[in-house]
């Protein structure tokens, strides 16, 4: 408020005061950085619509003077990209549902039900937040292969299903559910399960949605684990498919690579534009997690 009115007042002032210089500097720095941030995106989109001549031109082009959908057709006809997209949606969907369900269940149990050892268990879950996933890379792979889950969706879903961050986030929210609501329902003869499905879950819709959005994006983008578990190219998710494209086609085609990058990122960029608020919220919740 005050800055804006001051800026306006300064714009009327002809002389370059130090405040005005500072405002100009601020805008130049912010928008300059924003421009640099956007360049890679622009390059990715522009290249995906360029003709082969432009892609291979001596001087790198930033504007596709000759528009073509050649690379998109090429990708459709020469790769499993449609299958990979479907796989990614399925994997991210299943993981999101599983994580929300089991995280919400334990968060409910830890905040609402009284049983011995629950405090200790909550402390252990919070501590496990500090374990870097990479330490478990080898032993979890051994366990997954012992269970015969290599090359199966569950081999990726289960290892990422126990998500301490999700539990921690939900516990903060479940604490705020008024006790009276639950007691009233219990008096009406609701079982614990019914209280959970009919009262707790609906009440926590927005927190669950924020967590779900976060898990969905996280799984969509996951790299190490799908890379290890999916060994069949018909099982690949988009990130894995993209990286193997080069080898499978036997050639490096910048047009194909950039087009596949567009296909892999546009769905999430759209989700991001539409649902920025809950996503910002999910990230902010992590900031207060400590």
């Amino acid at each position: 408020m005050s800055t804006r009115s001051r800026t306006r007042a300064l714009l009327d002032d002809v002389s370059l005061t130090s405040d005005r210089l500072r405002t100009i500097g601020l805008y130049a720095a912010l928008y300059g950085t924003a421009f640099l941030f956007m360049l890679p995106y622009w390059y990715m989109f522009a290249t995906s619509f360029m003709t082969r001549d432009l892609v291979y031109a001596e001087v790198p082009h930033l504007i596709p003077w000759d528009l073509t959908f050649y690379w998109y057709e090429y990708l459709l006809n020469n790769s499993l990209i449609v299958q990979w997209t479907a796989n990614t949606v399925i994997l991210a969907g299943i993981t999101t549902l599983v994580v929300i369900l089991i995280d919400a269940m334990i968060a409910y149990s830890l905040t609402r039900l009284d049983w011995p050892g629950r405090r200790a268990i909550f402390a252990i879950i919070v501590a496990s937040f500090m374990v870097p996933g990479i330490v478990n890379l080898v032993p979890v792979y051994i366990i997954v292969s012992e269970l015969g889950l290599v090359n199966s969706v569950w081999g990726v879903v289960l290892p990422s299903a126990a998500n301490p961050l999700g539990v921690f986030m939900l516990v903060q929210f479940f604490k705020d559910i008024p006790e009276e609501l639950e007691e009233a329902a219990r008096l009406d003869g609701f079982s614990r399960l019914r209280v959970f499905t009919h009262i707790v879950l609906p009440l926590m819709r927005s927190a669950l949605a924020a967590l779900g959005l976060f898990i969905f994006i996280w799984t969509w983008n996951a790299f190490v684990w799908p890379l290890l578990i999916f060994q069949d190219d018909s099982m690949y998710t988009l990130p894995i498919g993209l990286v193997t494209l080069q080898d499978n086609l036997g050639i490096t085609e910048p047009g194909v690579i950039m087009t596949s990058a567009v296909v892999a990122s546009v769905p999430l960029l759209l989700v991001f534009l539409v649902m920025q608020k809950p996503l910002v919220r999910a990230v902010e919740m992590q900031g207060t997690t400590k």
Binding site: M1, R4, L26, Y27, L30, A34, F37, P40, Y43, L101, I102, M105, I106, S109, L113, D114, W115, R118, I121, I124, I125, S128, P132, I134, V135, N136, L137, V138, P139, V140, I142, I143, L158, P159, A161, E180, E183, A184, R186, L187, R192, W220, N221, V224, L238, P239, L242, V243, I257, M258, A261, A264, S265, L268, F272, V280, V283, E284, G287, K290
Partner: protein
């Protein structure tokens, strides 16, 4: 709201009192039943493996027939400490951490403070800086591989030929791609933290005639201490575990100059099939991360 509610509460307490003794066992059962799915999965894929990794690191692990594994004691750890490839990977990782953590932390702080001012197009700026957050490392890696190519944008305007095949420029190239990608998360955390600092503090300081530099030093930074410590530790832990970017952009080359510790672990395990040794590498990495997180937490002094 008061009267009726209190009345009902009183009733509720009265009637639950009767079956309280009976329901407490039931509550135990219900409580553990709700916790069970998570605990089973976490036990199998999180806590169990942590112990298994420790166990494996004491063996020359035979993946085909674990019963045939040979007990080595601490031999894997001893070999590791005198393994030049391990040290090379560790130093590369430290170099990467030095190249990425300061720019990511300082950059995200500056952007957050800048966007927090009432600038025109605040929404647009926030969207732009946050957007790389939703990209997969595969897209980031492939996109920047093209940009750093001999005929790519960066080399064309800044020179340096193909950065990714240059011994000196490959790691900085990976660092630049990482900074572009990872700034987003910190930016959002710090923007929220800055918005939580009370305006009154600044108004009071202004009345005292404090310069903006002093307000930054004496109000903004101290008020944002906890989120800043959080951001430093998270960025450090992420950078130390870097894998996807070098895996995609350079595959550890040229001549192992971008082989980071996780890339080394991955290769030892899944190419070299030395699972016991790789588990030991994982544990050493774990210890380093805990030690550094604890130290920075101690020195940067996040309260409670």
């Amino acid at each position: 709201m008061g009267q009726a509610n209190r009345q009902r509460d009183a009733n509720a307490n009265g009637s639950t009192l009767v079956d309280l003794s009976k329901s407490s066992t039931r509550e135990w059962i219900a409580g553990s039943a709700f916790a069970l799915p998570y605990l089973l999965i976490a036990g199998t894929f999180l806590f169990g493996p942590l112990l298994l990794a420790l166990y494996m690191s004491l063996y020359d692990w035979n993946a085909l027939d674990p019963a045939q594994s040979q007990f080595l004691g601490l031999e894997n750890y001893r070999i590791l400490l005198s393994d030049p490839d391990f040290w090379n990977a560790l130093w590369n990782t430290v170099y990467f951490v030095v190249l990425t953590v300061p720019p990511i932390v300082v950059g995200s702080l500056l952007l957050a403070l800048g966007v927090n001012r009432e600038v025109r197009g605040q929404w647009l700026l926030r969207t732009v800086f946050f957007s790389p957050y939703v990209l997969t490392v595969a897209v980031v890696g492939l996109l920047w591989t093209e940009l750093f190519n001999a005929s790519g944008l960066v080399s064309y305007y800044l020179g340096g030929g193909n950065w990714l095949t240059s011994h000196d420029l490959a790691m900085p190239a990976i660092a630049i791609a990482t900074i572009w990608w990872q700034l987003a998360f910190n930016f959002i955390i710090l923007l929220a933290a800055r918005q939580n600092v009370s305006d009154r503090l600044y108004e009071a300081a202004k009345l005292d005639g404090a310069s903006s530099w002093r307000m930054m030093r004496d109000i903004t930074i101290p008020q944002m201490q906890n989120p800043l410590v959080f951001v430093v530790i998270v960025t450090f832990v992420n950078s130390f575990q870097v894998f996807g970017q070098p895996f995609i952009m350079t595959d550890g080359g040229p001549s192992f100059s971008t082989t980071t510790i996780v890339l080394y672990l991955y290769d030892t395990a899944f190419t070299g099939r030395q699972f016991g040794y790789a588990a030991a590498v994982g544990y050493v990495l774990f210890m380093i991360l805990i030690a550094v997180s604890a130290t920075s937490y101690y020195f940067l002094g996040g309260d409670d």
